[in-house]
């Protein structure tokens, strides 16, 4: 299972965490992955100083902006699923 955690702490929220979550929700629905990938919110991941912090399958991605989401999703989520990689 590839889980996605998005930080919704003060800092990430101000930098667009909500939009990032919406985009991820849409992408998961479009690819029919809502049952396979759990999208969760998380409070402060203590990487506040850059952009939205996301953890995909245990791996941290800092400074994510809404416009980065489609590429990140394709690489990290779809990529992982097709390669059959699982989260640690």
């Amino acid at each position: 299972m590839t889980d996605i955690e998005v930080c919704v702490g003060s800092s990430c929220f101000l930098r667009g965490a909500e939009t990032v979550i919406r985009l991820l929700q849409e992408l998961l629905e479009r690819h029919g992955l809502t049952a396979r990938v759990v999208l969760r919110g998380s409070f402060c991941m203590e990487n506040c100083t850059q952009g939205v912090t996301i953890r995909i399958g245990g791996q941290l991605h800092r400074g994510v902006f809404p416009e980065d989401v489609p590429a990140l999703f394709a690489r990290e989520v779809l990529g992982r699923l097709t390669e059959g990689r699982t989260s640690p």
Partner: protein, 384 residues
Amino acid sequence: MRTAVRYCINVGHSQLIKHGEELCGDSVSITRAGQSTVAVVSDGLGSGVKACILASVTTRMAATMVRKGASIDEVIATLAHTLPVCRVRQLAYSTFTLLQVHQDGRAYLAEYDNPPAILGRRGDPLAVCREERTVGERVVREAMLSLQDGDWAVLLTDGVLHAGIGGIWNLGWGYERMERFVRQTQATGCTPQELAEQVTALCRKLYGGRPGDDTTVVCLEVRIPRRLTALVGPPQDRRHDPEVVSALMRAEGYRVVCGGTTGNLVARELGLPISVDLSALQSRVPPPASIAGIDLVTEGMLTLFRVRELLAHRRPQPGAGDAASRLAALLLEADQIHFIVGRAINPAHQSPDVPAELALKSQIVQDIARSLRRHGKRVKIEYR
């Protein structure tokens, strides 16, 4: 062991000043001392400064004397001897309604020339057996009451009854219509302050925005105190984390945690999972989270900032699911609120992207506390 119930008495009041005057000729005094709360409302003869002086002298003197154990006879005798005499009317006159409520629920009501107080037991009218007594030349109506959780009272001056006179209502709003409105509004679950404000707001409308008389409403509510303890931010010294969390968990009543890092800290100390509720995603503030045993876990500054706004301007929308509305509603439901404010500095708030005001945590908590006190809450702020 069961100790006797100690009720808390929540009080709110609101006034309108007669159009064209600068001072209100009605006076309100609410004093809390020792075991009792004393609320006095007085309407001074005439309007403006003269009425204001008469009414203020009356409320202050009555409240102080009753609090010190004087009888109403003594209060009236003293008032008769000390109120300044109006040169025009050769009279020294002011009305009053006095309600003293002890922490154990015993209460004493005395009314002199004001419209009768309205009392209720939750949604029902509370029958009050008043006894009329003549003190000097004045007829005072008195009642001894035994109040309990959920009882409430509204004291008022005749400006409320006269609202709309000669305009919307030929003879003014009137006691019955006014009483019905008070009971209906009270039943919506508003705080005493909101109830008082809603009554005077309607009076102002009935008066067409130009009150023809000074108008005063005082609302009291008796209830078993509800406590709320809120942990806001991590303590300055990490070694105090366990202590602060155990203080929160030992507290009775609602438990609230504000702040992302603080939420994580509490979950860690308790060894429990924390999960963010994405279904309540709403654009103004980050969504709430949940930890077993904690009533509400929210993000910190953005949420508190919004709570401050909600409390300062209006009542949070009932049923609104976002974290700030839920926190504001919980705070308004509580009577005794304890904020434990951690003084750790969040490096993220030092970033130039974050509005400077958001970093002023203690200022925001103090502003929230001020709003809550205005609603009659007892608020304690502790810094860690």
